[in-house]
Symmetry: C2
Subunit: 323 residues, 2 copies
């Protein structure tokens, strides 16, 4: 009866999101333990670190040690973030990461001005120079992303047409350096999306860029994360970023204590129950989520890690019925 | 672009769900304070108490005092629960409640056996006798509900056809006493529903009983509450039970610490942002949610009460743009 996708790709971002956000300090060995645990769940892409200035992000001061220390499992892509060539060079130097470039624009000009003191034109120019950097270093670029694609705490609503145009600009900038963009990630950075706006924006992006895959990076700050993911599934979206246990938080003003990224195991649970393959073993993922909670030392927002799966209950019910 | 409903009816159940579930004790005056706060939000139906044996539910020992104490606001229906004639008589005796009957069956025969030591046939017989009681007391009955309609921790999945048949049995039992059923509430008592199963069951019920309004009573134990509500909206469901701040919890084994009912202000937020009228002032409702947290003395699972609304951010952004 349903036209939901048969399978989705989940990009696990919990380690990077979480260690970046948590006040910590979290011992390097425990970070590695969590990554190794996630490697055993069936997740095939895990973002493990951010190569940024430790003065700005103290939780990432040990990024090199973390990347050197985890056990690489065949079939799993380990990724990282960086903001400039220095960070990228650090990522490349590890020799242990799947290093791919991405070009990003921020949909909100106010946010851009406020956070990076840039105009939209300067933002695009910076991405052009990043594309040149990727070409000169031989790093492939197939992905773009739009931050605050659904709205911004400082600017308010973001027009759909603006996001569609920005994607076009990024495709063009990538093309100038010989890159063909295959995917755009629409990031609900400040949790403005609803199921209706997910459908509206994904629909418009599809119409304007029919050959582009669409990914969703959803935040759960206002409790809409899973509903927005479902709306994405209904639109045929097959790539989602998420965080185990809902690791990570929302660094924006007024959101203290609010949830961050949409929770991986809640997303996997929904997919499992709706017949959408994720490749992930939910029970193992819940064990990782409980480990994540132990590692950060406080409750995390995931639901299924507390509510439990239905598979075990179904099996017990069948045993009881047979007895 | 959307065929979502233009407006929905929200039945607030937070006070009843919460005070029933919380270990407490919560002073009667504080319970009344929360109800009075909810009365100011625009909610037009609030379930304030449960007239049950205080030995079983100590948090409801002061139900009569609570009902005697709150301030009735014109235009708001105040409702209560009861399990038998004694409870119903207490509710009637207050003279301050909107007393309407409802007939309910439990979709899971295992749960019925385990919790009430009844067969399905005995369960239906009990509802017939309840229908007779309502008629003899002159209490109108227009509502039915099916508990565990989406699955059961003890029985496993519940066949859609079984739920559809049970609704038919209740309509018949009501008809024998001269009542015409107008609504069926599908309760996801143990949080088995997903957006896909909500669509499946609501669709089947609609097909079999096209003149019946469908309501959803959703639990958020596995984080699917808001996504399930969205799926309901997509199916045209216009009546939802919910709890301010997510008050209430899940009393079933293995769910300790898990969330209970879907959260009213998160539901209102989603509706507001999608252009669906609820009649509720979200900012006032958030104030009630924060009060609920204070009254119970521990964090509650609501998201928007922490993440905040978009309306204030939009207004600030407009002021900044105009400056």
């Amino acid at each position: 009866m349903s036209d939901l996708p048969k399978a989705i790709q989940i990009n696990e971002e919990g380690p990077r999101e979480g260690f970046q956000f948590e006040r910590g300090p979290i011992p390097t060995a425990r970070k590695i333990e969590l990554i190794d645990s996630l490697s055993e769940t069936g997740l095939n892409q895990i973002q493990v670190a951010s190569f940024v200035n430790p003065k700005n992000v103290p939780g990432m001061a040990d990024a090199d040690e973390v990347v050197a220390g985890f056990t690489r499992r065949p079939g799993v892509r380990y990724t990282a973030l960086w903001l400039n060539e220095k960070g990228l060079q650090r990522a490349l130097a590890t020799g242990r990461l799947d290093v791919k470039g991405s070009l990003s624009l921020t949909a909100s000009e106010y946010f851009l001005k406020r956070n990076q003191n840039r105009t939209a034109a300067q933002d695009l120019e910076a991405e052009r120079s990043i594309a040149r950097m990727y070409r000169s270093l031989g790093v492939p670029v197939e992905r773009t992303s739009i931050r605050a694609a659904f709205g911004c705490n400082y600017q308010g609503d973001v027009p759909v047409a603006h996001v569609v145009r920005q994607i076009g600009s990024l495709i063009e900038a990538a093309g100038e350096e010989g890159f063909t963009i295959k995917l755009v990630s629409l990031a609900d950075t400040m949790a403005w999306a609803t199921p209706a706006s997910v459908k509206r924006l994904v629909g418009a992006v599809r119409e304007a860029h029919p050959n582009l895959d669409v990914a969703l990076h959803l935040h759960d700050t206002r409790g809409m994360g899973i509903a927005n993911a479902y709306a994405g599934l209904e639109m045929g979206v097959t790539t989602f970023d998420s965080s185990v246990a809902g690791l990570g938080g929302c660094p924006f003003a007024g959101h203290r204590g609010a949830a961050g990224n949409v929770c991986t195991e809640d997303l996997v649970f929904m997919c499992d129950e709706m017949g959408i393959a994720t490749g992930v073993d939910l029970q193992k993922l819940i064990a990782s989520a409980l480990l994540a909670e132990e590692v950060v030392g406080h409750p995390l927002p995931g639901s299924v890690m507390r509510g439990g799966t239905l598979a075990a209950l179904r099996a017990a019910a069948q045993r009881a019925a047979a007895a």
